[in-house]
């Protein structure tokens, strides 16, 4: 044995296959799109239209005070929908705070998905039933959770993959780094989807990173990086599906960067004109995920006006239902505040609950 044989000396893997193609992968409008399954494209289209309408409706609800806040994913619907649809029912989704749309696209009731944002408890839906972790507000903190869950599944011989979503800003957090490193060392069946929408609130990408692309970060962990046009729903869906498949089959984690754009402000409370040019927004509006897909579908004769109208009508019905059901505040029981802190409330919590009950009783009587 010489030093040249010792593990520290030898590179673990070859870097070349890990490096992303710096040109974002596209399918729609390319010859390869001809091979895409029309049924899949139809599903993606219905969801995109629905998703766009959902964002608009939720934003409108904030203006009416029915929601505390809403971070819209308008412009990013292709990523949201593709993420949800790339998973099989037994897989797990780990959404970031902006990803309500992915949660809804995966089958959660549109009202339940807004539970947190309307000022109620955090997770309206049952995470175990839907296999969707709570929408994570502290950025990037959900990534190690996805790794741990995927690792646990693998240890149990359970063919489950986890898909974790994060923003371009979130990639700067230490948790991003630690999660990707654990995933690669453990060869955990997890896929990381970075939605690079150009901004972290007001901070543009150039102040966030000097990396060639965010997908290049994969190399430093020893996992493959892929770059994809985040507004091309077919491309995102394909790249994610391949990565999820590979993960589930023991091929390890992948980092996917989807290049996209946040068309709306950060949330309804934000004023995006303070930090970006309308011309940039316009450029991205001209590269719209719904239009990109519709152009493809129309060219292939898969979408006529009637079909388009049907999709719009369905979305409208969903929005009307959402509006109506969100019209009333939910009935919350304040004493439930003490019930889920621990499996069994402590003596102190029991006393505090009693105090609050007495106060509520007094209030009711006065």
């Amino acid at each position: 044995m010489t030093v040249l044989d010792t593990p520290a000396w030898r590179p673990r893997t070859d870097a070349a296959p890990l490096l992303p193609d710096p040109e974002p992968y596209r399918l729609l409008g390319t010859p390869a799109a001809a091979d895409l399954d029309p049924a899949l494209l139809g599903r993606l289209h219905g969801q995109l239209v629905r998703g766009r309408r959902y964002n608009a409706q939720a934003t409108a609800l904030t203006k009416q005070g029915r929601l505390a806040v809403y971070p819209s994913s308008t412009g990013q619907e292709a990523c949201e929908i593709a993420a949800a649809l790339a998973l099989s029912p037994r897989d797990w989704l780990f959404p970031s705070y902006r990803d309500t749309l992915a949660v809804v696209a995966r089958g959660v009731d549109p009202v339940e998905a807004l539970t947190l944002l309307r000022g109620d408890w955090h997770t309206g839906y049952d995470p175990r039933e839907h296999r969707i972790a709570p929408l994570s507000t502290p950025l990037a903190t959900q990534l190690p959770h996805a790794v741990g869950l995927a690792h646990a599944a693998r240890l149990s011989g359970d063919p489950v993959a986890a898909l974790a979503m994060v923003g371009d800003g979130g990639t700067s957090e230490g948790d991003f780094h630690e999660a990707l490193n654990f995933a690669a060392v453990w060869q955990a069946p997890v896929v990381f989807l970075v939605q690079n929408n150009g901004f972290a609130i007001s901070v543009p990408l150039a102040k966030q990173t000097a990396a060639p692309t965010l997908a290049h970060k994969a190399v430093g962990y020893g996992m493959p990086g892929r770059l994809v046009d985040g507004n091309d729903v077919a491309a995102v869906h394909q790249v994610l599906s391949e990565a999820v498949e590979r993960a589930r089959e023991g091929g390890g984690p992948t980092l996917v960067e989807a290049v996209t754009y946040r068309i709306d402000a950060h949330t309804n409370a934000d004023d995006a004109t303070r930090y970006r040019e309308e011309s940039e927004v316009a450029a991205w509006r001209a590269h719209d995920p719904v239009e990109l897909l519709e152009r493809e579908l129309t060219a292939r004769g898969l979408l006529d006006d009637a079909a388009r109208q049907r999709a719009l009508d369905e979305a409208e019905a969903m929005a009307a239902d959402l509006r109506e059901r969100m019209h009333e505040d939910p009935e919350l029981d304040p004493t439930e505040l003490f019930e889920h802190v621990y499996a069994e409330p402590t003596q102190q919590l029991r006393e505090q609950a009693a105090q609050l009950r007495a106060e509520l009783e007094a209030e009711r009587q006065s």
């Binding site: 505390a68 806040v69 947190l116 944002l117 309307r118 000022g119 109620d120 408890w121 955090h122 507000t137 502290p138 950025l139 800003g169 979130g170 700067s172 957090e173 230490g174 948790d175 972290a200 609130i201 007001s202 901070v203 102040k207 966030q208 990173t209 303070r274 930090y275 505040d329 939910p330 919350l332 304040p334 505040l337 003490f338 802190v341 402590t346 102190q348 919590l349 505090q352 609050l356 106060e359 509520l360």
Partner: protein, 343 residues
């Protein structure tokens, strides 16, 4: 740079005008930047946007990107970089966007910010101000309403300051930035839009960190509080008049240093005390305050020092937060129980 303008503005207009706490904080940052080239403001969205609460509004425009800098999104990195900047001789003023988003920086804070001076026997003081918008009452979703002061006040080496008035917001922030020690500067979010007639104090008139303010003298009992709970306590004191109670109110202004003298004197004057804060009671600041009052004033106490604090639960969702926050009724109820027989 608008150093000159700023100074001129003040020279022209010494008279008091209505201002919000947010405006006073912005002015304090401006005046600190103008007064000392070593001062640097940094954090997430503090530049072009002016911060999500607009506390840093216009600073990048007026002082340049190098003096007010949008950083990458990484709180440990921000505070860690500030440590290095302070080692070089700068005075970083760091913004953590919300209370719960300061937690990633906890190791840097406890293991370095709080200890660098001590570990180097004074050779490397770290004059860093960490501004943290804290507390609830603004309908914020989870992670946007934490009261984290207890974590900081138990960490030797940190000062912990929290203003409750517009005037103190300006004065204490200037004093914190001028301090050669690290200061955790906790800004009560729900008071950002509170208003008062005010004009920026001259630096010489800025109160030193570590002096509590007696906001109201009383004879029946003493409320001891700080930050977002001060207005609630003052309201409670007014309401108490109807019950025939004459309540004193002490505003701590800084938890570290803790002004034992002022607190003890105010409690001795009444023989009864209630400590009020919105963070969870268990192991909260009120525990220290109550324990200390008892140690110092035991034979003056007619009743145990009581605490009115948030429940021992994670901060509740917006629709339920009013049940969690100490309000006037809960304070008056505690005052009522000061005529206390053991349960």
């Amino acid at each position: 740079m608008t150093t000159a303008t700023t100074a001129a503005d003040r020279a022209e207009a010494p008279s008091r005008k209505p201002a919000t706490m947010a405006q006073a904080l912005n002015q304090a940052l401006r005046d600190s930047l103008a007064a000392d080239p070593a001062v640097h403001v940094m954090g997430e969205d503090v530049g072009t946007l002016g911060g999500v609460f607009r506390i840093t509004d216009g600073l990048t425009r007026d002082f340049g990107e190098d003096r007010c800098t949008d950083t990458p999104l990484a709180e440990a990195g921000i505070l860690g970089a500030a440590v290095g900047m302070a080692m070089y001789g700068l005075r970083p003023v760091v913004e953590m966007q919300f209370d719960a988003f300061a937690y990633p920086a906890f190791e840097q804070l406890v293991s370095h910010v709080a200890r660098m001076r001590n570990r180097t026997r004074g050779a490397l003081p770290l004059p860093i101000t960490v501004r943290i918008p804290y507390g609830g009452g603004i309908g914020g979703v989870e992670h946007h309403s934490d009261s984290s002061e207890a974590y900081y006040l138990h960490t030797p080496g940190l000062h912990v300051v929290t203003p409750a008035t517009v005037e103190d917001a300006y004065g204490l922030l200037r004093a914190s930035i001028a301090s050669d020690d690290p200061v955790i500067f906790l800004e009560p979010k729900r008071l950002y839009w509170s208003k008062a007639d005010w004009s920026p104090q001259e630096p010489s008139a800025v109160p030193p960190i570590g002096r509590a303010a007696v906001r109201r003298t009383g004879r029946t009992a003493t409320l001891v509080t700080y930050g977002p709970s001060l207005p609630v306590c003052l309201e409670a004191a007014e309401a108490a008049e109807e019950e025939g109670w004459d309540l004193g109110v002490v505003d701590l202004r800084s938890l570290v240093p803790f002004d034992e003298e002022t607190v003890a004197a105010a409690v001795r004057a009444t023989g009864r005390a209630v400590v009020v804060h919105e963070s969870s009671g268990f192991g909260g600041a009120g525990a220290e305050i109550a324990a200390r009052i008892t140690e110092r004033c035991f034979h003056h106490l007619e009743a145990p020092v009581l605490r009115v604090a948030g429940f021992d639960i994670p901060y509740p969702p917006p629709m339920l937060e009013r049940h969690h926050l100490p309000g006037v009724d809960r304070i008056l109820d505690a005052v009522g129980r000061l005529q206390w027989e053991e349960r």
